[in-house]
């Protein structure tokens, strides 16, 4: 049962990296360009960032629930990085929410800054978690920013090239995570409770996500909420 829960944690986290990774790459590009260009970029991600970031919320929630001691043991080590990621996340989201109605140039800088922090922060945190060193994570933080930038570029170019890049990212992350199941899972009753609720809901959640993506196929051309 614990293996099944770890697959679910991995699934949601990999989903987060693939979906939000593209948003980070597009968000970073809001650092420059005129308003019309930035509007086009922001509208490419704004209807979906909500539905993409929740994959991390789901992964973190399941991790805490199914492997409570693991999270407790690991976070003090990563404390400043996680706080930085959270701050970057808040700033990025606020920029996207507010840009349609308040100081678009400030908001777009916030989106870009937050996107850089998020991509770099995850590149740092994940490798730090696995290796425990400082220098490798710094290097991978830079690498993650570069990969996200390029991934965002392919996403703007079209769905198919982005899907190919996303699949590579997903495969790499899944291999790393699946081979590293934490040793201490929660008690069996807790695991059964989680599985009993999550598994039946999963098809509906994924259907809603597919629906959202299909609804986004026609680009948003007029100013909407965002």
């Amino acid at each position: 049962m614990s293996a099944l829960l770890w697959v679910l944690v991995t699934f949601f986290f990999v989903g987060y990296l693939v979906l939000e990774g593209a948003n980070f790459g597009v968000g970073m590009r809001l650092v420059r360009g005129d308003l019309e260009y930035r509007n086009r970029l922001a509208r490419a991600i704004s209807p979906r960032f909500l539905g993409s970031e929740v994959w991390l919320v789901a992964a973190a929630g399941l991790l805490t629930a199914a492997f409570p001691k693991t999270e407790a043991a690991r976070t003090p080590d990563l404390y400043p990085v996680i706080v930085t990621i959270l701050l970057g996340w808040m700033v990025r989201d606020a920029g996207l929410w507010f840009r349609g109605r308040w100081r678009p140039e400030w908001c777009d800088r916030a989106v870009a800054l937050g996107s850089f922090v998020l991509a770099g922060g995850w590149g740092f945190a994940l490798v730090r978690l696995v290796t425990g060193t400082v220098w490798w994570p710094l290097l991978t933080a830079v690498a993650a920013v570069v990969v996200a930038w390029l991934y965002g570029g392919t996403f703007l170019a079209g769905f198919r090239p982005a899907a190919a890049v996303g699949a590579v990212i997903a495969a790499a992350a899944a291999v790393v995570l699946l081979t590293r199941q934490p040793p201490h899972a929660a008690g069996s009753t807790t695991l059964i409770l989680l599985a009993a609720f999550v598994l039946p809901a999963l098809p509906f959640l994924l259907a809603a996500q597919v629906w959202l993506w299909r609804a986004c196929r026609r680009p948003v051309s007029q100013p909407g909420f965002f």
Binding site: A60, G61, T64, I82, L86, D93, T189, L193, F204, F226
Partner: protein, 393 residues
């Protein structure tokens, strides 16, 4: 964690939770109203309902932005500052939170994205279904959060096996009286907040004679009915908790009733927010009764209109007060009778907690200020403000 660090971590959690609570409660209060308005529009096709759906829906979405941003930080704080919780009671504490994230939050965010995007893009009936599903998931979210909170207030459904606390009985956890009484009181309070928000905003426009009389008279009636009924219910459901409280949390019960306490007990100052909350409850109920008694006379009176504008912040204040009574009243326990707050902290330095407290406070204050300014501006501009701008294809 040192004593200072524990205090800082408590301030951090209390601050972030209080701000989150303000936005989350208005979300719960506005959503059903927006859903009802959109339903009326779908049924009648009358443009007034469309305009009302868009205006109140827009305010709901602007408010929701901060609800979601502040909510994200809440979840991660358990791992950052309070790892004693997952470490000792993780078997019971984590599961409802995880189910909230997946069954409610995940669904809510995806469906809300579709609702915002879907104006003119998704067929009207499906689009209407979306707002009802968003409403449903928002309330499911409140349920699971209160299951977690209910366990902290009144731990049930657990057993101790080999020295660790494990989940023993789901049914008990999901039907906990510590969850149930809090949830119904909170839901009524959130609806009162939303109702009086709508009433106050509408009264502002009527008092200023902004030329949207029909729009805001209808809204005012809707807000007063929702807010009035919900505030009566909130007061009743608040008192309904006393019986359960007496047996489940005798120390809290005795402190708020001015009776002598022995053993671990919460600080005596929680009676101040309690009385403030009760006072606000009385004001809201009196306004609701006045509106019922004097009807149109009341709705047309300038004094009544400006009073309703002044009343807007009161339910928010009452929410924070009630939350202080509930959560500070639980002290010195983080899980009542099972785990002390001082035992629940993470092994992190004071500097780390202070750094995160400063960082979150600055960002929170800045974002909340901008968000409330945007809500105020949207309110002032009234229903002419173009929103959800796509023209139906």
């Amino acid at each position: 964690m040192t004593g200072t660090a524990t205090d800082l971590a408590r301030i951090e959690f209390a601050g972030t939770a209080a701000v989150h609570f303000l936005f989350a409660a208005l979300t719960l209060g506005l959503l059903p109203v927006v859903a009802v308005l959109q339903t009326r529009w779908a049924r009648t096709g009358a443009p007034i309902w469309e305009r009302m759906t868009k205006f109140w829906g827009n305010l709901y979405v602007i408010n929701y932005a901060l609800g979601i941003i502040t909510g994200l930080v809440m979840e991660f704080q358990f791992g950052l500052n309070w790892s004693g919780l997952p470490n000792t009671v993780g078997n019971l504490f984590g599961a409802p939170l995880a189910l909230e994230t997946i069954l409610a939050f995940f669904a809510e965010s995806t469906l809300l994205g579709l609702w915002i995007l879907g104006w003119g893009r998704i067929p009207a009936k499906l689009h209407l279904t979306l707002i009802w599903l968003v409403t449903l998931t928002a309330y499911i979210s409140a349920f699971w959060i209160m299951v977690t909170n209910g366990f902290m207030q009144h731990p049930v459904g657990y057993a101790i096996k080999n020295g660790s606390i494990v989940l023993d009985n789901w049914g008990a956890l999901l039907t906990n009286s510590g969850m149930f009484y809090g949830l119904i009181h909170l839901v009524a309070g959130a609806l009162a907040t939303g109702g009086f928000f709508i009433a106050g905003v509408s009264a502002y426009h009527l008092a200023r004679r902004t030329g949207e009389d029909e729009f805001f008279r209808r809204s005012l009636r809707l807000g007063l009915i929702t807010g009035g009924a919900a505030s009566l219910l909130t007061v009743a459901l608040g008192f309904a908790q006393y019986g359960y409280l007496k047996s489940a949390q005798p120390a809290k019960y005795n402190v708020i009733n001015g009776k002598p306490v022995t053993g671990p007990a919460p600080p005596g100052w929680i009676t101040t927010p309690l009385n403030l909350m009760l006072g606000i409850g009385v004001i809201l109920v009196v306004i609701a009764l006045a509106a019922v008694l004097f009807r149109d006379q009341f709705l047309r009176s300038r004094i009544a209109q400006w009073s309703l504008v002044g009343v807007i912040p009161l339910p928010f204040l009452a929410l924070v007060c009630g939350w202080l009574v509930r959560e500070v009243g639980r002290q010195p326990w983080v899980v009542y009778g099972l785990l002390r707050t001082t035992q629940a902290t993470s092994p992190v330095s004071t500097g780390a907690v202070l750094g995160s407290l400063i960082g979150f406070s600055v960002v929170y204050l800045a974002l909340a200020t901008v968000d409330y300014a945007l809500i105020a501006r949207t309110v002032r501009r009234g229903p002419r403000d173009g929103v959800f701008g796509e023209v139906p294809a």
